[in-house]
Amino acid sequence: MAKIPVQFRLNGTDRAAFVNAPETLLNTLRRSLGDFAPKYGCGQGACGVCTVLIDGEPHLSCLTLSIACEGRQVETASGMADGPDLHPLQAQFMEHFAAQCGFCTPGMLTSARALLDKNPNPTRDEVIEAISGNICRCTGYEPIVTAILAAAGSPGLRRA
């Protein structure tokens, strides 16, 4: 079957790929574009490790068709740091030991970023709600919630 060209902006850079029609955004990001930050965890929408931002809103890339992303803005955890400068969320995740095996971390960071971009000073309940679609199996949610609250209101949070 003929491949289909798709173009979108990935972490601020125009990217293009030839995809199979029913290919998921997750597979395109990982196999064609080399962005391994989003992971495969369930393929069902249950775990959140594939979470990416599409036009600033969190989406599950394992359930999204790549061809539906034509012309859109896709952002992943790979694009959060500015060179060697970590995003405040990344710095606070490090500070508060909010990662153990690290597999859920890119998705957690992405969901947290979607929250803070809109709501820089969330309540604890709002943080919990924001990551309610992201499963962590080893760190435990407590240090993750703590890290997100610590990052909230950090200077530089709304950096483009």
Partner: protein
Amino acid sequence: MLDVRSCATLSEAAGVLSGDRQAVLIGGGTLVMRDVNEGRLTEGTLLRVTDPAFRRIEAGGGRIELGAGVTMGMILASRELAFLHPAARAIGGPAVRNMASVGGNLFAASPYGDFTVALLALDAQVVVQAGFGSGRATPLEEFLAARERSGSALVTSVQFSRPANPGDFHFRKISRVKPKGISVMSIAAHLPLAGGRVSQARVAYGAMAPMPIRARGVERALEGKSLDAAAIAAAKAGALEGCRPATDAIASEWYRREVLPVHLGRLLAGEPR
């Protein structure tokens, strides 16, 4: 081999669906893509609808129409639909809500499909378009009874009347994981009051049968009554009428039957979960 076809109009999509038995409509992808990822769906055509009408919200007046492609996230962003926010927020986490659609929720198998429970209590109509003709409105209850056989028609929207008093509409999802989990059950109730007495009550359950169902025993018990302890006790006594809950990974049939009257009673009494 699986292909994808994008349809620019609702009519085109309805035409393809009625003509191609192997065509499957894909809304937000939260149901269909799971089957693709796990190899259950390997042949046929995934049908995308790009018609803006598919994602239109008409909520300005007393009659509300939600395009079948409207997502839970879009409902949460609409102030006019505030009374539906608890039901929309009950669906998944933020990412799922940005994808999951009103139309898809109508097809979610138990114990999923919590938003449909709210629509059932709102006496919603489902607008279904078969072939290239125009849409036909069907009561949701009728639609659900036939949904396994309705794969060849396109759901374009759902319609319902705005509750005269939003405070008369109640929704609760009971799950074991906080803040989000799969339903043990969900309960929606529209309890309009006329002169302090319930009139035309509609109560619906999710996960208490293979599809969302009306709680007719509760509706009868409440009709014409004020919401006092005696009426709530009568409603609880009739709570299980028509229920056929499943035993699944979330809860046993026994457990669902045991706790339903408890949660219904709390909802009716305005008590916290």
